[in-house]
């Protein structure tokens, strides 16, 4: 079993792996929290436009203190800048982009993922309901939806399940799940383990996953 990495290191590891999902020329929506971190790792040679659902197509870097504009934030309500070539739009237009499948990729956080592609990431019954924000729209809009999360919860229990127990964000919407241990694709035949991250074995990943995993041919060949 992999060494106990601190939380920040794990998040960085996941964010870096998620960055590999982004191709040059992509329009990408990054969810609030860990997904936002992915922006820090986008390679310089990739031309990527980040969309913020509050009405900015082309998120830039964080502002220097002298550049801060209170009218310019991302969907996480952090002050940002606009990239060169950016465009502002209204919320309805922004979600027209999303719902109309104009985004190539969305990377979102997850609480639970299921083998049929269901996602739960907005609500824990009994706890205060904060609202789903834009997530329910985004999971139906982007051409590819990638979920990033820890492989197991703080009690060590699997978060990739046969069926989600939490109320859903979307039904059958996930294309790929990236965790600190593995990369798993949602396919018609079920979940396919396509990659195992450094420090973990196929067996450890299978063991810490409640859902059935089909090990991809490529991985099988590697372990032979």
């Amino acid at each position: 079993m992999a060494a106990n990495l601190d939380k920040a290191t794990v998040r960085e590891k996941i964010a870096k792996r998620a960055e590999q999902e982004i191709e040059s020329g992509y329009y990408v929506n990054l969810g609030i929290g860990m997904p936002t971190m992915v922006a820090n790792y986008i390679q310089d040679d990739k031309q990527v436009v980040l969309q913020s659902e509050n009405g900015l197509l082309g998120i830039g870097r964080s502002p220097y203190e002298s550049e801060v504009d209170p009218d310019l934030i991302n969907a996480g309500k952090e002050t940002v800048t606009a990239s060169k070539g950016a465009a502002y739009c209204s919320s309805a237009e922004s979600f027209a982009m999303v719902r109309g499948e104009h985004l190539d990729l969305a990377i979102l956080g997850g609480m639970e993922g299921a083998q049929n592609g269901d996602l739960a990431n907005w609500m824990i019954p009994g706890k205060m309901i904060k609202g789903m924000g834009g997530a329910m729209d985004i999971v139906h809009g982007a051409k590819k939806v990638v979920i990033i999360m820890d492989h197991v919860n703080k009690h060590g229990d699997p978060k990739i399940l046969k069926e989600c127990r939490l109320p859903l964000t979307g039904q059958g919407v996930v294309d790929r799940i990236i965790t600190d241990r593995a990369v798993i694709d949602v396919e018609p035949k079920g979940l396919v383990l396509v990659d195992v991250l450094e420090g973990w074995t196929v067996e450890e990943v299978v063991e810490s996953t409640e859902a059935e995993l089909v090990v991809s041919d490529r991985l099988l060949q590697q372990s032979n």
């Binding site: 659902e53 009405g55 002050t79 209204s90 109320p167 039904q171």
Partner: protein, 231 residues
């Protein structure tokens, strides 16, 4: 041509108890902060508020909440507010959560005379409860209805005497749609300019949607200051 109010108090004086109001803004950005302060002062009660968020504890719509002026809130994310949580758990406040993009589109539909439309967001989730599900081209969608309000309160960077509005950066957000969906729309503008000063090609909200304007400076509080240190 449009009513120009000289005070924010005057601008909100027709908003009565039990009104439905829509309020522009995302987080604290692009909110009509002075109109909200005037509403707090007015002590108008039993409001239904349609807005993406509900402010924070001590600013924006959070002030109306703290003053117990809101009976019902329709929004997509209300998580920045402890008093909100307390009132919901105490049964003092009703909440209707709507996915953000669906909320924006419902408001646009309300303003555009579209009574209902189909949207994929929320199929198979708790928000689908009681909603018609219909399949188009093999994909399921929910029937969503248009939203309208008695009063819409928006904030713009520029407004002219014909009611035309121009917004600044991400302070645009829900404001253009909300401006279309109010029976009466009141715009808080940072700069009130003469007719003819705006390029007709760069107006975001054509004046037809706006009934009254009021000029004023804004505090523009920042929720999450994130800065890059100069190298």
């Amino acid at each position: 041509m449009k009513t120009i109010y000289s005070t924010f108090q005057e601008a909100v004086k027709d908003i009565k108890d039990h009104s439905t109001i829509m309020v522009g803004g995302f987080g604290l950005v692009g909110i009509p902060e002075n109109l909200i302060l005037a509403l707090v002062e007015s002590e108008v009660k039993h409001l239904t508020v349609i807005s993406n968020n509900c402010g924070v504890d001590d600013w924006g719509l959070g002030l109306l909440l703290k003053n117990k002026q809101i009976d019902k809130m329709i929004g997509s994310y209300v998580g920045e507010n402890k008093e909100f949580e307390r009132q919901v758990l105490a049964g003092e406040l009703e909440v209707e959560l709507t996915p953000q993009g669906t909320l924006a589109e419902r408001i646009r539909a309300g303003g555009a005379g579209i009574p209902a439309f189909y949207s994929p967001a929320g199929v198979g989730t708790p928000i689908a409860e009681g909603k018609e599900v219909r399949t188009f081209n093999g994909k399921d969608y929910l029937l969503q209805t248009g939203l309208k309000a008695d009063f819409s309160l928006v904030r713009a960077e520029y407004g002219d005497h014909a009611g035309n509005l121009i917004y600044n950066k991400t302070a645009r957000n829900f404001n253009p749609e909300i401006a279309t969906a109010g029976e009466v729309t009141i715009a808080e503008v940072e700069n009130l300019v003469d007719i003819g000063e705006m390029d007709p090609d760069r107006i975001h909200t054509p004046g037809i949607y706006v009934q009254g304007l009021v000029e004023g400076n804004q505090e523009k509080r920042i929720e999450r200051l994130t800065i890059k240190k100069q190298a």
